[in-house]
């Protein structure tokens, strides 16, 4: 997938809108393919623990990732951000290894599934506690400011409607605003936090109404519409890059899966599924790219085939790799070798 590999800021600046749209969409295709596979592996009992996927949100997630450069920008991906991870540049093997328990995964089996990252490449590994990653991204940005290398850098953090209720989210937004850091927070309002609908989560009209309270620009967009979403997120990212400080994007969509693959989401009302917010962003995007001639049917088929092959290979690779061995693991929890563990 050569199109996903571009990662220098220079390349991005020169990139055309059409090319970025194609690149973003391609990440969506790859992510949907990968996540569907992970869901079936879960159902087949091949994955221990949970599987969390993001169907219906790929347009939003991929748009974040495609606006950022690996090894240059920062992205805190959350549980439904496979598309964003792919677009940002996370190797697919990181996902399959983490889910399938290969010792070669980025956390060597110590953690799994979506709790993975590569902090040294700009992809911190999420902890489960919602809202807690936003201040970590702010800190990464602050560090670069102090080191004098913040210029042109953006940090993005993904959060959900539910996470917006956490004190952690609030403190981080406010702190980033006080420091005027180039932080783009993309809040995917997928109408639910687990089973909890918006009306039990917040009482404002739209969560974008929070932006003014932090003194940061706010944007709201139909997250089922790739082209609109990419445009808005690109704008927020470039504002941040140019010194505009934190930005809050609220993108509306519907979670088209259960909370995790163990959940049938039967609590999601039929009416909501059939409303505009319930549209599948993949279908919308396909139509957008096909109808504008940005992609042909044949090319799309080819992309899907390539994605399936890549997924197949990444799964096969992870599956043939050894699981962690408690006798081989050094159980080190301290980086300083002079600190001996307690027992």
């Amino acid at each position: 997938m050569p199109e996903l590999e571009r990662d220098s800021k220079a390349a991005k600046v020169a990139e055309t809108w059409e090319s970025q749209l194609r690149r973003t969409f391609r990440a969506m295709v790859v992510a949907r393919t990968l996540e569907s596979k992970l869901a079936s592996l879960y159902k087949a009992g091949k994955i221990v623990g949970g599987v969390y996927i993001g169907p219906g949100q790929e347009a939003i997630s991929a748009s974040i990732g495609s606006c950022l450069s690996w090894d240059h920008d920062i992205f805190s991906a959350l549980i439904r951000d496979q598309a964003g991870r792919t677009a940002f540049g996370e190797p697919m093997l990181d996902a399959t290894r983490s889910y399938l328990g290969s010792v070669k995964g980025p956390s060597r089996g110590r953690d799994g599934n979506i709790h993975r990252g590569r902090p040294n490449n700009g992809l911190p590994a999420m902890i489960s506690h919602l809202g807690a990653m936003v201040s970590v991204v702010a800190g990464m940005l602050l560090a670069r400011r102090i080191k004098g290398c913040l210029d042109g850098v953006v940090g993005a953090a993904s959060v959900g409607d539910g996470a917006s209720s956490t004190g952690s989210f609030h403190e981080a937004m406010n702190t980033a605003a006080v420091e005027n850091l180039p932080l783009v927070v993309v809040l995917t309002n997928n109408q639910f936090a687990y089973s909890t609908p918006n009306d039990r989560q917040f009482a404002c009209k739209s969560l974008v109404d929070r932006a003014v309270g932090y003194g940061v620009p706010g944007y709201e967009v139909d997250g089922t519409d790739l082209s609109a979403t990419l445009r808005v997120i690109s704008k927020a990212v470039s504002n941040a890059r140019e010194g505009g400080g934190p930005q809050l994007v609220v993108a509306n969509a519907l979670r088209l899966s259960g909370h995790g693959e163990h959940d049938d989401a039967s609590y999601v009302p039929e009416k909501l599924r059939n409303s505009p917010v319930g549209r599948d962003c993949m279908e919308v995007a396909e139509q957008q790219l096909l109808s504008t001639g940005l992609i042909t049917d044949a090319e799309l088929l080819e992309w899907k085939k390539e994605a399936a092959e890549e997924v197949q290979a990444a799964v096969a690779q992870a599956q043939k790799e050894p699981a962690p061995d408690p006798f081989a693991d050094d159980w080190a929890v301290y980086a300083s070798t002079e600190i001996a563990p307690v027992s």
Partner: protein
């Protein structure tokens, strides 16, 4: 074993509490129509629509709100989705709830349910044991039921108590542990009393929560080797029933304290140091501890099984103790 699970007991206790006491309400994420992440409140919202309420993802506010309601005479039950997330409500628990009666003379009887402990594949943030972190703070009552009957009766008692109670339920026991009946026929032991769950004479193993069952299995194994191991289920880690533990050590002369917690401090340290301070002369050998390893709880089942105490590691620790 019968068909009533540990989680059934928790659900039934809440049903009973809501039915019999108008002061009781349940507040937590997804506890309403969804019935909670582990289904501990399934069906209750239908029966008590005004007293089973979904909360936003705001653990700090959840506990603060519970304390406020308790000050007004209510008996809130707060469900944490996982014990691990109580770290975000930590301040309200240890500073608002725990100190309330001491400072104002007004009780704040809240019950916080904390789904705790490891299960395969749950990883560092959905597996933690936090009982000792909270037990440190004056003013809190810390319960760790290990049986179906205790899960039921201790939750009823938690809500009856005039003090803030943290009720640590173990996720591994939810559907694995079954009994014939909700109540085991006997009168439930009062809060703060440990129970000798297996009599023996060669050594005492003190455990709590899911580790009681591992300890019992280890005792079975050791029985086949000719050893009679006494197993004490603490049930409550604060208050801690030193008397029952010391009485057991008086019979056996040997002590192993087992916990699923991280190894620094915690319940096993408190047990061992109480026994040695108050029952030193009863000991025929140095008392021992067995806990999880000093790392976050690993995700992968291979690592997880080597992280927490198991039948095998407990049996090995007992054998070692018997030779000291």
């Amino acid at each position: 074993m019968g068909e009533i699970t540990y989680i059934d007991a928790i659900r039934e206790a809440q049903h009973e509490l809501l039915s019999s006491d108008e002061r009781v309400f349940i507040y937590g994420q997804d506890v309403g129509d969804f019935g909670g992440a582990f289904k501990a409140t399934q069906g209750l919202k239908k029966l008590f629509p005004d007293r089973v309420l979904d909360s936003p993802i705001s653990e700090d506010a959840m506990i603060g709100l519970a304390v406020g309601a308790a000050l007004e005479g209510m008996r809130p039950i707060i469900e944490m989705q996982f014990a691990d997330f109580s770290s975000v409500g930590f301040n309200q628990i240890v500073n608002q709830a725990a100190t309330q009666f001491y400072r104002t003379g007004v009780p704040s009887p809240i019950t916080v349910r904390l789904p705790s402990g490891g299960t395969p594949g749950s990883g560092p943030f959905h597996s933690q044991m936090m009982e000792s972190v909270y037990a440190y703070y004056p003013g809190l009552v810390i319960l760790t039921p290990a049986t179906v009957a205790d899960a039921y009766s201790m939750l009823i008692e938690s809500v009856a108590l005039d003090d803030p109670v943290l009720y640590f339920e173990h996720k591994f026991l939810y559907r694995w542990l079954k009994a014939d009946q909700l109540k085991d026929g006997k009168d439930p032991l009062p809060i703060g009393h440990a129970r000798v769950v297996r009599a023996g004479k060669h050594a005492t193993v003190v455990a709590y929560s899911a580790m009681v069952h591992e300890a019992l299995r280890a005792a079975d194994l050791l029985a086949s080797e000719g050893w009679e191991i006494e197993v004490v289920d603490l049930r409550s880690v604060k208050p801690l029933d030193t008397d029952t533990v010391i009485a057991s050590v008086a019979r056996t002369g040997r002590l192993l304290a087992v916990g699923e917690a991280f190894p620094w401090g915690g319940v096993t340290a408190e047990v061992v140091s109480r026994v040695t301070s108050d029952g030193f002369h009863l000991l025929d050998a140095p008392p021992q501890r067995l806990n999880s390893r000093d790392t976050p709880v690993p995700y992968h089942p291979n690592l997880w099984e080597a992280h927490r105490p198991t039948l095998e590691s407990i049996a090995a620790a007992i054998r070692n103790l018997l030779q000291l």
